[in-house]
Amino acid sequence: MAAVGNSVARKDGIGKATGDARYADDLVFPNMLHGRTIRSTVPRGKIKSIRYEFDTAGFTIVDYRDVPAKNAVDLMSQDQPFLAEHEVKHMAEPIVLLAHEDKETVNAAKVVIEYEAEEPMFDPEQSDVVFKAIDIVKGDVKAALGRDDVVIVEGTYSTGHQEHVYIEPNGVIAVPEDGGVAIYGSVQCPFYVIKALRCLLGSAHPNVRVIQTETGGGFGGKEEYPSIISGHAVMLALKSGRPVKIIYDREEDMVATTKRHPSIVKHRTAVTRDGHLVGMDIDVLMDGGAYVTLSPTVLSRGCIHAAGPYSCDNIRIQGRAVFTNTPPNGAFRGFGAPQTEFAVEVHMERIAEALGMDSIELRRINALKPGDKTATGQTLRDDSSAHMVLEEALRRTDYLKKRADWKGTDKAIGLSLFYHGAGFTGAGEKNLKSRARIDLTPTGVRIAVGSTEIGQGTRTMHAQIVTDALGIPYESVEVAQPDTSKVADSGPTVASRTCMVVGKILEECSHEMKEKLGGLTPAEYYAKNGELSIERMYEPPDWIQWDDSKYLGDAYATYGWGCDVVELSFDPDTFEVKPIKITAVQEFGRPIHPALARGQIEGGTAQGLGYALLEKVVMRNGAMANGQLTNYVIPTTLDMPEVDVVMMENPYPGGPFGAKGLGELPMDGPAPAVVNALRQLGIDVRDIPATPEHLSTCAVA
């Protein structure tokens, strides 16, 4: 039986279910100290003084003066300090680090910081500090909007912050070791941490390695932020010469770490009376927070997806990611696309209303087909499935009948059509030069990549690919724990690339190894010849052309496609929405492990429903005021409706066994589908989360 395509036993083992799996906070090292971060309590200001109102004996104290080389988190830009020096730009910005061997003692230590407060900037629309601007031009949108045979439809749509709420808060341990330091931590991207630490430490401390511990969820929230915590722990460890553990509690994690970027998206669309989109003018604004982090690429992906899965000859998409005095926003599953696809899908519903046309028909007319060109001028290939997922969703849910039957009741049905580019944007994968390796062992092979298992099934899925590509038993394939000193840098575990890109390199490594084995089994070869390793670099398809200066060309090698249908009921007394069922029809090439793939869709759909209805970050004076799981609410068992998952196949020839990326796709669809269902009830929602409080203020359409 082939491993690929079957829900084989997972490589995680039983540890996650027995309590044996070791997460960062479960590890204890001899002589370990507990670290704590002292943070700003104003959103903007100059630091006037710092007073330590405790007996500092037994404490290790670190401030910016202890930075060995460069006080900058090396990400896209080097604007964010590990520790504020003379000014702070947002609430909860790290200023001082403390460590002590007793956790309670370090928590009780009182540090008083005085500031000269300055006027903060909270409104992204007023901000004139632009982290990144993007301008995508296709055809002549001005001319299209000026035509006299078109209807013009305008709208502004906004989305709020979203908190990741991985159930394991952030945490790392820095452990001094021979000639260097090791980081054990809850991280998505061990090599990002390495990069950040090299910049922080400089040449004086060359030996750093990062070992990923079992990681209790990430969703993008452990993509870039762990670099900061690791830097903090390392500085405390180097100064004290002892292991230092920093584990955030829930409140610190929620208040201090990154969130999904809030957005404001404006659409101005020209459409013919018979429903052909002829001009789309789109403005995307994202609130980056106080430092650049990953905002340029979040904006980029958001803009590229902003016209939705629709064909239109004249498109202009202008985007800006701007500064505000709020904690930096960062990576979150979907990476800008959930924001812009929410806007365009709600806008499509309003265009249909303006035309007096069925919104399904409008989508059928305009949905992208193979051969059509996207906003960036990419000609879609045969693995494009907008129409397929749309028709299957309509059929499976009996959509048109339900929509008609429920008219005039408190029940409604709504839909969204969406797509998601897999892998890094444009030339990103080419520039990244990811590498993967497999090593022969006495009994089989070991996969040695930096891609992390954070719940999504990396270990298992990679092992399946290697199993079938090598033609050996699945049981003989092991997966190494990511340790940057021992595994190949396969790039970050982000952007729905771990299967499609890293899996592909592993497939090619396997083919090469198979050739080298010359018909012997791995064990036979090992016994005869000893060790053998195959390491290869990723080579994207040769047809990919991308012009980063103009944002033109093949933005992604392939896309996943989805259509979500939400059925819900509405309580007119309390404005509460109860989802009854959500049908998620998604095409992502080919599922390597159907049960894990289904889990990605079910889980992403739940996050999308939370984003749509429940999850509201309340900001007060630049800080999250509801930083507790009681007050920032995510769906419980009783909030989740039945999720009907339909996995469709349309293989991508460049992926391992036809697979595309999947992780982010399910996040894009639920919010617009919910809001479009609410439109069926006559409630005109343009902003999410659509909390009952918000719905109580929405106009009746």
Partner: protein, 272 residues
């Protein structure tokens, strides 16, 4: 910031008499299931460090009928309220309210006496007690006194209980009329309430709200309007003037007021 737990002192009482004796001698805050107090300690939102653990006082876990009155021991957990036949028969809306408190884990530890003592305006069980004119039984070494729950709260998290007293029971006289309860929370389960309404329909309707004021409240003007035969729409308008809810991280004053008015109308229609 998390409280330094080594500074927290927990004295444990094995019997009610011992507990009352300690409370007379020492200034300690009683804790039962700890579901509110330990959250406050974990989040550093309480300055209290001296506690008296009364969890072991099994004599406060009984639910009995004395004459016609239902007497619920203060340490009765929500799980016990959900499972009790007497509660189901006498005050079914208290069982319903209990089902909507936290998850199973909280229902197993949270107690009715704790819910009353904690004094949160968002308490789920207390609006029920207010609507049925329950009586809080307080005991000290000197003896017992009974305070109607509607006179128990004097302000935000302020009560008439003296430091040497313990809540030992809640008494509920027979409830005449249809009971109606609705909790509007932040989500479907494990939710903090944004509006809670508990009511009894009779010639003199009794209506209580949670999460719309500094304490759980009855709405006498609205009740008067309804008992004097004014229309439900008029009563709802009166309710809108009578309630003075606030904005907080969970909801808005406008929403709370509007929903309260809608719930009043639904109560009236449902119990007609």
């Amino acid at each position: 910031m998390r409280t330094t737990m080594s500074e927290v002192n927990l004295r444990r009482a094995a019997s009610l008499d011992e507990a009352l004796g300690i409370l007379r001698e020492e200034n300690r805050t009683p804790i039962a299931g700890a579901t509110d107090v330990y959250v406050a300690l974990n989040y550093g939102t309480t300055g209290v460090r001296q506690f008296l653990d009364i969890w072991a006082l099994d004599e406060l876990r009984t639910i009995v009928k004395r004459d016609d009155t239902l007497v619920i021991g203060a340490l009765t957990s929500y799980t016990s309220l959900i499972q009790s036949h007497l509660v189901a028969e006498h005050v079914p809306m208290l069982a319903e309210a209990s089902r909507l408190v936290g998850g199973v884990q909280i229902q197993n530890r949270g107690t009715l006496g704790g819910n009353v003592a904690n004094g949160s305006p968002a308490a789920d069980g207390v609006p029920v007690l207010a609507a049925v004119d329950a009586v809080v039984v307080l005991r000290s070494i000197d003896g017992e006194r009974r305070v109607p729950v509607n006179e128990y709260y004097t302000g935000y998290r302020k009560t008439v209980m003296r430091p040497d007293e313990l809540i030992v029971a809640i008494e509920i006289a027979p409830v005449i009329g249809k009971q109606w309860f609705r909790k509007v929370g932040t989500r479907a389960a494990q939710a903090i309430s944004k509006v809670v309404m508990a009511a009894v329909r009779s010639d003199t309707p009794r209506i209580a709200f949670g999460s719309v004021a500094a304490t759980i409240v009855r709405v006498p003007e609205t009740e008067k309007a309804l008992s004097s035969g004014q229309s439900i729409d008029e009563a709802a308008e009166i309710l809108g003037r009578e309630l003075k809810p606030i904005d907080d991280v969970r909801s808005t004053a406008d929403y709370r007021k509007r929903v309260s008015m809608n719930l009043l109308k639904r109560f009236w229609a449902d119990t007609d």
